[in-house]
C-alpha cells in the first residue's frame, strides 16, 4: 500500500501542443497569429484562454518600456547529474532553445498605469513551468526587490509542479518561496497572485496561494494532485469542474476569476489600493 503513487505534483506534463497551435481546443475556431495576439490569446468565439508566454504577459501588463528584467542570467545546474531517458542538461538546453528563456520564470521591475510594482511571471512552455532552483531563486529575489523598493509583487503562475529532475532540491523551493513571502510580508508589502492554467502541485502548494489577493483566469486548473491521480485513488467520478478555478471560487479558495482582458485594469485598481508608489 505504501506504493500508491501520491507524489503527483509533477504529474502534469506539458500538454501536447494542439494540432494547429492557433486552433481553439474548446470550439475549434482558427486564428491567425496576429489575431490571437491582438486578443491576448483569448478565443473571441468561446472565451477559451490559450496559454500566454511570459514575455507576452509582461507586454500586456507593464507600461510600455517600463519593464526592467532582473536575474536574467540565472541558469539551472544539474545537481544530481540527473538522467532519465535523456540527461537533464539536454532537456534544459532544448527548453532554452525552444522558448528563448533560461528557465520557467521571468522577474523584474515594472510600472502599471504609472504605479511601480515587481513582476514574477511564469512560462509554461519551459519544461511545463516546473519549479526548480532557478524559479525558486528568482521568485525569492523578486520578493526582496519588492520589499526593498516598497512596492507590491504581482505573480502570474502556470506550472505543472516541482521539477523532478532536481530531486529534493526542487521540493525545497516550496519552503524557500514561502520564507521569501514571509520576509516580504514583514516589510509590509502585498503580493497579488494570478493563477493561469495550470497552477498545480508545488507551485500551488507554495507561493501561488500565499498572495494577499488570489486571482485566477477562467478555466484554470488549480489542483494539488492531478485529476488522473485523484480518480485513480478515489475511484469516484470526478465533478465536471474538478480542480478548476470555478470550483475553487465556490469553495472559498479564490478572491475572483478575472478574464484576461480585465486583468490589467484589475491589477491597476489593486495597485491603487496597495498604495503602490507612482
Amino acid at each position: 500500500m505504501a506504493k500508491i503513487d501520491v507524489s503527483v505534483e509533477t504529474d502534469d506534463k506539458p500538454v501536447p501542443p494542439p494540432k494547429h497551435p492557433n486552433t481553439c481546443p474548446s470550439c475549434n475556431s482558427h486564428y491567425r497569429d496576429d489575431e490571437l495576439e491582438q486578443a491576448l490569446w483569448v478565443c473571441s468565439h468561446c472565451g477559451h484562454h490559450f496559454p500566454m508566454r511570459a514575455r507576452a504577459r509582461i507586454a500586456s501588463l507593464a507600461d510600455e518600456g517600463s519593464f526592467l528584467e532582473e536575474a536574467a542570467d540565472l541558469h539551472s545546474e544539474d545537481p544530481l547529474g540527473f538522467f532519465d531517458l535523456r540527461p537533464y542538461t539536454e532537456r534544459l538546453a532544448e527548453a532554452e532553445m525552444k522558448t528563448g528563456l533560461t528557465d520557467a520564470m521571468v522577474i523584474g521591475q515594472a510600472s502599471l498605469d504609472g504605479r511601480q510594482c515587481e513582476l514574477a511571471i511564469m512560462d509554461f512552455s519551459f519544461m511545463g513551468g516546473s519549479m526548480g532552483s532557478v524559479v525558486g531563486e528568482k521568485f525569492s529575489r523578486a520578493c526582496d526587490s519588492a520589499a526593498e523598493r516598497g512596492v507590491p509583487l504581482i505573480s502570474v503562475t502556470g506550472s505543472g509542479g516541482a521539477r523532478m529532475q532536481e530531486g529534493i532540491l526542487a521540493l525545497m523551493q516550496l519552503p524557500k518561496t514561502v520564507a521569501a513571502i514571509e520576509d516580504l510580508h514583514d516589510s509590509g508589502r502585498a503580493m497579488i497572485s494570478v493563477m493561469a492554467h495550470p497552477t498545480t502541485g508545488g507551485v500551488l502548494a507554495s507561493f501561488a496561494t500565499l498572495g494577499d489577493v488570489l486571482l485566477a483566469e477562467p478555466g484554470a486548473l488549480m489542483s494539488f494532485a492531478g485529476p488522473r491521480v485523484v480518480q485513480q485513488l478515489t475511484r469516484e467520478k470526478l465533478p465536471d469542474d474538478f480542480g478548476l478555478a470555478e470550483q475553487n471560487l465556490r469553495f472559498g479558495n479564490l478572491d475572483a476569476i478575472v478574464p484576461r482582458p480585465e486583468l490589467r485594469p484589475t491589477l491597476s485598481k489593486l495597485l491603487r489600493l496597495f498604495d503602490a508608489p507612482v
Partner: protein, 311 residues
C-alpha cells in the same frame, strides 16, 4: 588517501555556503560547523543498491511510526484533536508531552498498523484538516513557548476530491508559512517516507534531520518512473536518479544531520531507534534553547532561502 568525489562535493558546498551573500546578514556558522562535522564522519557515497534498500526500509511495514516514538520518548503525552470546525484528521497526530521534563509540542503523520487503522489514517496521507490541526497546535506551542518537534512520515498529501475542494495546496502553503513565523525552536525529522508537499508542510524547521534509512523526495520513485520512463516498474532506476536517501539529502544541504538507526533498520529494535532519535532531538533543542525567537525565525528563513543550485 585522496578525497572521494562525495567528499569533494561536500567541501564544495561548504565553500559556497561560506561565500554566499545571505539575506539580512544571517550567520550560518552553526550550519557550517555541523556540515563540517558530518563531512568528517561520512563514508562513501551510497550505491544505487543502498539507495533502494533505504526506500524499502523507509516503507517497511514494521518500521516504527510517529506514535511508537511518542510513547517511547515523551512523558505525559496528551493528544490534541481537531482543526476547529471540520474534522479530526487521524492521518496527522498532534499533542503535548514532556521530553526530559521539558514540555514540547509534537506533530507528525501517522500510518496505521492494521487494515482498519490504515484506512482510518489514510496511510499517513493528510487532508487539509490534518494540516490545519498541526498549524493550530504549532501556534499554541508558539503562544506558550514550547519547542515544536515534527515527525515526517507520509507518502504525500491525500489526493482526494474533498481534499482538493478544501484547498489542499493552499493549506500546505499556509502550514509552511506558519512554521516560517514561529519564534520557538523547531526540529523536524523524517522517520520514514518524506513524500513531497505532504512532507514539507510540516518540515520548515530550524533543524531538519533524517533517520539513516528514511527517504525524502519530491516524488515517489514509482511516480517518477511512470512519468519519465513511462513504466512504474522502473522505480529503482528512478530512485537511483533522484537520490532520496539521507546521505544525498545531507550532501545537498537539505538536511542538517542523519540520525543513526539500529543495525538492519529502526524496526529491528524500536527502543534503540527511539533512544537514538531522542538523543538527536535533545541535542538540537539544547543547541537552540538560548537563541532569541526573532533570531531563530530569521535564521530559519535564511536557511531555506539558501537552498538550491544554480549558476
Amino acid at each position: 588517501m585522496p578525497p572521494s568525489e562525495h567528499e569533494l562535493r561536500l567541501r564544495e558546498r561548504l565553500s559556497r555556503l561560506r561565500n554566499m551573500p545571505l539575506l539580512g546578514g544571517a550567520k550560518l556558522s552553526g550550519e557550517l560547523e555541523r556540515l563540517q562535522r558530518q563531512l568528517d564522519r561520512m563514508g562513501e557515497e551510497p550505491t544505487d543498491e543502498e539507495i533502494w534498500r533505504s526506500v524499502e526500509l523507509a516503507r517497511n511495514e514494521k518500521r516504527p511510526y510517529t506514535l511508537d516514538y511518542v510513547e517511547r520518548l515523551l512523558d505525559d503525552w496528551f493528544e490534541l484533536h481537531g482543526d476547529r470546525g471540520r474534522a479530526d484528521d487521524k492521518a496527522m497526530v498532534a499533542g503535548l508531552g514532556k521530553l526530559d521534563g521539558r514540555t514540547v509540542a509534537l506533530v507528525g503523520q501517522q500510518k496505521g498498523r492494521d487494515i482498519q487503522e490504515r484506512a482510518e489514517r489514510r496511510f499517513g496521507m493528510s487532508n487539509p484538516e490534518g494540516y490545519l490541526k498541526a498549524m493550530r497546535v504549532m501556534e499554541l506551542a508558539n503562544r506558550l513557548g514550547f519547542p515544536v518537534i515534527s515527525l515526517v512520515d507520509t507518502p504525500g498529501a491525500y489526493p482526494g476530491v474533498a481534499a482538493e475542494q478544501h484547498g489542499q495546496g493552499g493549506t500546505i502553503a499556509a502550514s509552511q508559512a506558519v512554521m516560517a513565523r514561529l519564534t520557538v525552536p523547531t526540529v523536524a525529522c523524517v522517520i520514514g517516507e518524506g513524500g513531497s508537499g505532504g512532507a514539507i508542510a510540516i518540515a520548515l524547521a530550524d533543524r531538519v534531520l533524517m533517520q539513516e534509512h528514511a527517504i525524502y523526495s519530491v516524488i515517489s520513485p514509482e511516480g517518477c518512473a511512470m512519468i519519465l520512463w513511462r513504466d512504474a516498474g522502473e522505480a529503482k532506476k528512478a530512485a537511483a536518479a533522484f537520490k532520496p536517501d539521507a546521505a544525498h539529502c545531507l550532501e545537498l544541504g537539505v538536511i542538517d544531520g542523519i540520525v543513526p538507526e539500529p543495525p538492519g533498520g529502526a524496526h529491528k529494535d524500536p527502543d534503540e531507534a527511539a533512544r537514538l532519535l531522542g538523543d538527536a532531538i535533545r541535542e538540537v533543542l539544547d543547541e537552540l534553547a538560548d537563541v532569541p525567537g526573532d533570531e531563530l525565525r530569521r535564521r530559519r528563513r535564511a536557511r531555506f532561502r539558501s537552498l538550491g543550485v544554480f549558476a
